[in-house]
Subunit: 219 residues, 2 copies
């Protein structure tokens, strides 16, 4: 299991414990979702498996579903972080595309397909996931505003970011449904789809006969 934060920062016992607890809860929830299905378990079960009290669970998450969006949150957070480290003078779409495809390359991927499928089967989980993307959208808009500065209107920013995330979402969904229970080696498949959808976006969706996800989708 790859950790997204390998920082060896001098964390106090307090900080470290909280991180561990949060992780334990999220992992417990994921385990349960895998074994008995999303929405088929209670908060008490998560808490018990994580080795904390029910009350503590609610100190960390607002609901059972929320504890299943941690991975989605960190994925998007990571993408944003990668984006922030791109050179300022790089063309916008170039930076966006690279950020996402780079992020997919360093993330545990099959998990996200799994989560997508879970969301399809459980409305409450789907809502939590949508909310997760929504929160990310707000953060990305902020980052983009800092990058582009004043000339970009609010409408432009929010529409653009919404579209980029919609494309990424569409790519992940398409990948999730057409790549049944794959191993971790299907990263290229996903990357290709993200690339393809973002290229469609850049080109204004001119061609309805665009290929689903070819290995090459040049600009």
């Amino acid at each position: 299991m790859l950790s997204t934060t390998d920082n060896a920062e001098p964390l106090g016992r307090r900080e470290q414990n909280k991180i561990d607890t949060r992780r334990a809860i999220a992992d417990a929830a994921l385990d349960l979702a895998r074994s008995v299905g999303p929405g088929a378990f209670t908060v008490d079960q998560i808490a018990a498996r994580a080795g904390v009290s029910r009350r503590t669970f609610f100190n960390y998450f607002h609901s059972a579903e929320d504890s299943l969006t941690v991975r989605t949150d960190t994925f998007l957070e990571l993408a944003l972080e990668v984006f922030g480290q791109r050179p300022q003078d790089e063309p916008l779409f170039e930076a966006i595309i690279r950020s996402f495809s780079e992020t997919t390359r360093m993330e545990g991927l099959s998990l996200h397909g799994e989560l997508f499928r879970m969301g399809d089967a459980n409305p409450d989980l789907l809502r939590a996931q949508l909310h997760s993307w929504e929160r990310a959208e707000a953060r990305i808009v902020g980052a983009l505003r800092r990058r582009l500065g004043a000339p970009a209107s609010n409408l432009y920013l929010t529409a653009l970011v919404g579209c980029v995330l919609s494309c990424t979402k569409a790519a992940m969904r398409d990948w999730a449904v057409s790549t049944p229970e794959s191993g971790d080696d299907s990263g290229e498949q996903l990357e290709a789809r993200i690339l393809a959808s973002l290229n469609m976006l850049r080109d204004g969706f001119v061609d309805p006969t665009a290929t689903s996800a070819g290995p090459a989708a040049g600009s």
Copy 2:
């Protein structure tokens, strides 16, 4: 109050009662959200105000928030319906743009701004609204698939629809926040923003300095 379905179909007492009840509940929920704020009332209160039992409420809606998304649902349903009546040979973006701006022209508009602001203040309501858009997205993808036929790939369809809805959403959000407590006369403002965002989409978001919306530019 304009009804979106003025069909004088020969509905039986049964059907009519159900429609009335559903309406009564939705109206009661909206009233409450307006008077005490979203998320600050219980299902019992909604049921009482609607003149039905608590149990009956749950026969119609899964949660209090769901009863507040009825208007959003019907708005998107109406847009889809308008789209379905567009000529088949009309250019795609033309049809999409016209569908939405035509729909905004016939809908009680200030309400949607209100709902948007409510969603900002209440996470659960926001989730319900996001879910509403998500459901609409699925329906629209279906409609588009019928229109475009086989040549359109799944990824193309879902990405396109997601982007169109993201743009519409961005337009409504921008309009909602920059048009405080307006009357019903601000329809043009919204229409202009939808037009602007969908044009951005068609042009591939090339120009960061795009104007916010028509005659009056925001931020």
